[in-house]
Symmetry: C2
Subunit: 351 residues, 2 copies
């Protein structure tokens, strides 16, 4: 039984604690503002926790939501869809990129098959417990999901978030795996902000110029097919999204409603955040951005959401990797706030 | 007896291993280049170690070279010089900003008084073992150091580096502490690249507009006083530098000659790297940049040196803090290289 429903209101992080945290940071033994963006991160974590100084971010839990996409039958990706189930097995084996980073930082990592186009025989039952369907539909031809499927996927994300929160989470991380997933993610962002595909479409895993032009045309076709119906966030997810993206939206809204901060990763998680904010205003106040990816749609959406990413290293692996790589910096922000001397405590001259 | 002399030649990191490392990274289970700048960092560490994949960066050792500056009697800083010895005591107590970060990341941290204008009574003997003098002279009026003092300071830096390397170091970090030290650091960079002070002078710990104009005028006065004599790196250090900056140069050259990679921090360490490269060409090949500070001189020098910083978070604390905060990302780069699956190893579809 989930403790939080998608229909509950979202309370904001504490503005009183935010102010107290900024005052505390200003009193540390350093020039005013000398910790740069680490200061705003520390204050944000404090305000989410409702306590100053913030508690250490010991329990960080990352999830990877995996799914396939009908568009991969139409030449939008540099890799075949069979890579998606193979990568799910790599997460289970612990040798995907994000697996290495999660181990380094003591971050719990769980992959969920939301819509992989494979039975994934033999993987642990927890991986497939919230599967919604095999793949989603090609968005340039028809809706990705039925209305029922959107709701099942949102509910799957809600349950995944509740499982993670019940296990104890100071911070959640939203990761993705799915060949082709930058196409629906870019389409959702274009529809959300009224952009043309050419303004925001990137190379994903690394398609060439011709495939990029094809991807742009496919996204514009999808946007034209859907038209004004995309103004509603649930219909937008059905028409242009996918089951894994919808589950991500449910995950983010649930985390925010539960008062657990989330670190976003690349394009896919940021697209989910954009839709989540439309669906449940106030969600974004519980999100920070782990890194700036190479995808133009992610950069545009971060700007629109007012999020400044922690890292800017040209990462484009997905999997939650950029966010997990940024975890030590959030932890640094909190530890500096907790452990630095105060200016007032510095030894007087000659002491 | 130091094992390496400042007059020994500097061999470059292995180009053969660099190529092998890039090939190894290209074979990992990810799109080509998807780890962005982490791939170049991993390849650089590999080439420095001469082994592929690189060994983990377990033993990271940071030093903070502390000193005072005659210019602080002339209104270039927002804080009084008495803060320098107080902060040395904070490093010893373990509650400076970089102390917190070093503890978080298991980085060894040692502060050295190279030229603090205080006796530092009661601090451990190791802190003052390489002290060159009390403060350095005001560079707008006269040379910061005598020729002998420059050589003593370079030798102090050499000995400090050798001590750290003897203790076992996979990576060294160069930090600084000294009220007023952005003034000689900016002067060294301006002289090295032929800039006027207005192009590169920043606010240091946070001076106001009037003090910034005064700082610019003071640096221009110093540059005019020294003239063409600054083209020689040792004379540049004597005329425009300080004992702590000269020790930093000796430290960097010694690390490079010993084949130990160094992560640079903010303006002061980057100014030292600029002079070190003039003094001992090839030093920079052993250096990476930990972070982009808010000081324009640091940004200009990084561009000139061809170094792209790992972090860009608006930090301006000094102390080595930006570099120590970046350590987890260098470690991530190496671990990803070592532990990720190869594309060729991914489970075949349906396996």
């Amino acid at each position: 039984m989930p403790t939080v429903s998608l229909s509950d209101p979202i309370r904001p992080p504490s503005s009183a604690v935010l102010a107290a945290a900024r005052a505390h940071l200003a009193a540390l033994a350093k020039p005013l503002g000398a910790l740069g963006e680490l200061e705003e991160l520390a204050a944000w974590v404090s305000s989410c926790q409702g306590v100053c100084p913030a508690r250490p971010l010991d329990r960080v839990r990352a999830v990877v939501l995996a799914g396939d996409h009908g568009v991969t039958h139409y030449g939008v990706s540099a890799y075949p869809r069979e890579v998606t189930p193979a990568m799910v097995r790599a997460f289970v084996a612990g040798n995907a990129g994000v697996s290495v980073l999660a181990r380094q930082h003591g971050v719990s990592l769980q992959v969920y098959d939301v819509a992989v186009d494979d039975e994934l025989a033999g993987v642990p039952a927890a991986v497939t417990a919230y599967k919604v369907r095999r793949s989603s539909e090609p968005i340039q031809l028809r809706d990705a999901l039925s209305a029922d499927e959107v709701h099942w996927a949102l509910r799957a994300g809600e349950r995944i978030a509740n499982d993670q929160i019940s296990a104890g989470a100071d911070l959640l991380i939203m990761g993705d795996m799915g060949i082709g997933n930058t196409t629906p993610a870019a389409a959702l962002i274009a529809a959300s902000f009224g952009c043309r595909a050419a303004e925001i479409t990137g190379r994903g895993t690394g398609v060439d110029d011709a495939a990029l032009q094809h991807k742009i045309a496919l996204i514009d076709t999808a946007l034209a097919r859907v038209g004004g119906r995309a103004s509603d966030p649930v219909q937008r997810l059905a028409a242009l999204g996918s089951a894994d993206l919808a589950a991500g939206v449910g995950f983010l809204v649930t985390a925010a409603r539960s008062g657990v901060p989330v670190l976003l990763d690349g394009l896919v998680s940021v697209a989910e955040a954009v839709v989540a904010e439309d669906l449940a205003p106030g969600t974004i106040a519980w999100c920070a951005a782990g890194h700036r990816s190479t995808e133009p749609a992610q950069q545009l959406a971060l700007d629109k959401l007012g999020l400044r990413p922690v890292l800017d290293l040209g990462l484009r692996l997905g999997e939650g990797s950029g966010a997990v790589a940024a975890v030590p910096l959030l932890r640094s922000a909190v530890l500096l706030m907790r452990e630095m001397a105060l200016l007032a405590d510095l030894a007087p001259p000659g002491a």
